[in-house]
Amino acid sequence: MSAQSADVGALRSAAGAKTGRVSAPGARRARTNRRIRWAGLNGFGVIIALATLFPLFWMISTAFKSSNDIYSLTPSLLPSHWTLGNFREVISGQVSGIGSVWLFFRNSLAVTLSTVVLASLVSLLASVAVARFRFRLRASFLVMLLIVQMIPAQALIIALFLDFKRLNLLQNLLGLVIVYAAQALPVSIWMLRNFVATIPRELEEAAAIDGASSFRIFWRILFPLVAPGLVATSIFAFITAYNEFIVALTFLGQAHSDYTLPIYVTYFFGRGGAEWGPIMAASTMYTIPVIIFFLFVRRRLVGGLTAGAVKG
């Protein structure tokens, strides 16, 4: 079929496919074409995957190399002999001079988990309000969320810095948790409200008729049903807090013992004369947990985070 009539043909053969009306030579040609396409597609897929993975592979490979390997005139893909020396230096804290990587790991974990819990609780409440009630200013509230989630942290950082300085929350992990949780709210509320809206109202009404208290209804009926939504928003809050850079950079200043991982890696990187082996070891330790986490929640992540764009 000529290319010119392709779109008409598309429709016609969509109908044709239903009745199984496909001519024999056409089918054979299509099969050959499909085989060539299949090979091309898979080859292309492999290239994309390898090109995408290469930087990460290089990071990990460098982390296990000795200085000789790293600065060799002909770089090799894999270490000529594997060493844990870089990781040992990062863990002992000698090269960075500000402490073991575990300390910063703990800081990041504490900030991230607190953010997830706080943001989830607050956004769950708000999303139930938005999804279950019709009240004045509801639409304004939703539009406000859409707008504020677009305000870049860069635009607010000056005022946040001065405010939190006055509150004595600057060189302090609590200050970070408050900012991160608030930053995660608009998106979390948006995502959760869609989950709440899908839960049949009758369930709650039935429970209410049976005499269950509001709290009980919320805890025993609503909560389990929104749990998948909470997982999605938790992932979002987790990423926001774990990756966040500009606020932590500004707030933590010289408070080395409160550094989160990104600030630690930056400090390490910015120190003159740092060796790439330990820096890559530190980056690896910062990156691998979140990659593993992503792979675990892959399904939900891909579904939950892209759903919005799909509705169209």
Binding site: V22, L41, G45, V46, A155, F195, I209, A212, T266
Partner: protein, 354 residues
């Protein structure tokens, strides 16, 4: 608010959403009339009061409103105020009084060649990276849709790993990849034949300090690497909603891939592309961590983008000028607001408020 697609950062924030499989539909209950009126056993006066005055939704919104107001809205207002004042260290410590200076912060910003340079860098980065990300992401999404199951999982897992990499890690990693001393990119380029890579001496080529152009090539590749997976996954999710027979039939009839895309896929996915386009523009305007690391902040002023320029004026310059920083932040926010309005209008038109 999330940074660049930090990426994830960055996420399809608030895209008007229904989660897949949730069978989401805008809730059609004409329930406005009796919010929260469960005919349950009444407990206590407070509960009765809340019910009578329909206060429940407001109470539930309060924590979120407080958080958003104190951490997002109030600082924004303050920045607006600072931008019209001579606010700096002297004013904070009370040594000198805070004065209104009118538009002085704005005029001195507009007179600063560094501002225009950073605006140019920001715009050029967005102009290159937005289409590049969308094209690469769409191609990968279309390919993913046609790959076999195992292969698709392999490719999408690889992409997911790039997306999951924290921006700081990615930036430091790319800095190492292009490092003149031992970086693998220079080594590969120096081994390639001259007809392919030009006659530049690539061995020990310094990408980050030679000039803004070279540094932004690195940043562009880095940002595309981190953000195409999100586009790919979104496009893939959209493609899943198109009946497979439609695409297959067109292909059987001999339509080229490009034609299938242009005549079938694109029109059906247009709303998704619009949202992705707007989000990409916003994200790429906001790039901070990557430019901070790759340009070696505060090293090369001619390599600033708006974010690092703002940060320099507010925190790294001596004395720091919060007024000047505020003015830059306001200009920055206004540019983004224009894009955001486009985003909000698109979302509302797609039924986000139901």
């Amino acid at each position: 608010m999330a940074g660049i697609q930090q990426p994830p950062t960055v996420l399809p924030a608030g895209v008007p959403a229904g989660l897949p499989g949730s069978g989401q539909a805008s809730d059609g209950h004409p329930d406005g009339s009796q919010p929260g009126s469960h005919p349950g056993i009444r407990r206590g006066r407070a509960a009765a009061f809340i019910r009578r005055h329909k206060l429940a939704p407001y109470l539930m919104l309060t924590p979120a409103l407080i958080g958003i107001a104190l951490v997002l809205l109030w600082p924004l207002l303050q920045v607006v105020i600072y931008s019209f004042q001579n606010y700096s260290l002297m004013q904070i410590t009370g040594v000198a009084p805070t004065q209104w200076v009118g538009l002085a912060n704005f005029t001195s910003t507009f007179k600063d060649p560094e501002f225009w340079l950073s605006l140019r860098n920001t715009l050029l980065l967005a102009i290159v990276v937005v289409p590049a990300t969308l094209i690469v992401g769409t191609v990968v999404g279309v390919v993913l849709n046609r790959l076999g199951k195992k292969m698709a999982i392999f490719v999408s897992t690889a992409a997911l790993m790039a997306w999951a990499t924290p921006p700081i890690s990615a930036a430091v990693l790319f800095y190492w990849l292009v490092n003149p001393d031992g970086g693998v990119v220079d080594w590969v380029l120096s081994k390639l034949p001259h007809w392919l890579v030009g006659s530049t001496n690539w061995a020990q080529y310094n990408w980050t300090t030679t000039g803004a152009f070279q540094a932004y090539v690195v940043i562009a590749v880095l940002v595309v690497w981190q953000s195409f997976p999100f586009i790919a996954v979104s496009v893939l999710a959209g493609l899943k909603t198109i009946p497979g027979e439609l695409l297959e039939a067109a292909r059987v009839d001999g339509a080229s891939s490009w034609r299938v895309f242009r005549k079938i896929t694109y029109p059906l996915l247009k709303p998704i592309f619009l949202v992705l386009l707007l989000l990409s523009v916003i994200w790429d305007f906001n790039v901070f961590a990557q430019t901070y690391i790759v340009t070696g902040f505060p090293g090369n002023q001619n390599e600033y983008n708006l974010s690092t320029y703002l940060y320099d004026k507010a925190f790294a310059s001596m004395p720091p000028s919060y007024g000047l920083g505020g003015a830059i932040a306001l200009i920055f926010a206004l540019i983004l607001l224009v894009i955001t309005i486009g985003y909000v209008r698109t979302s509302v038109r797609q039924g986000a408020l139901t």
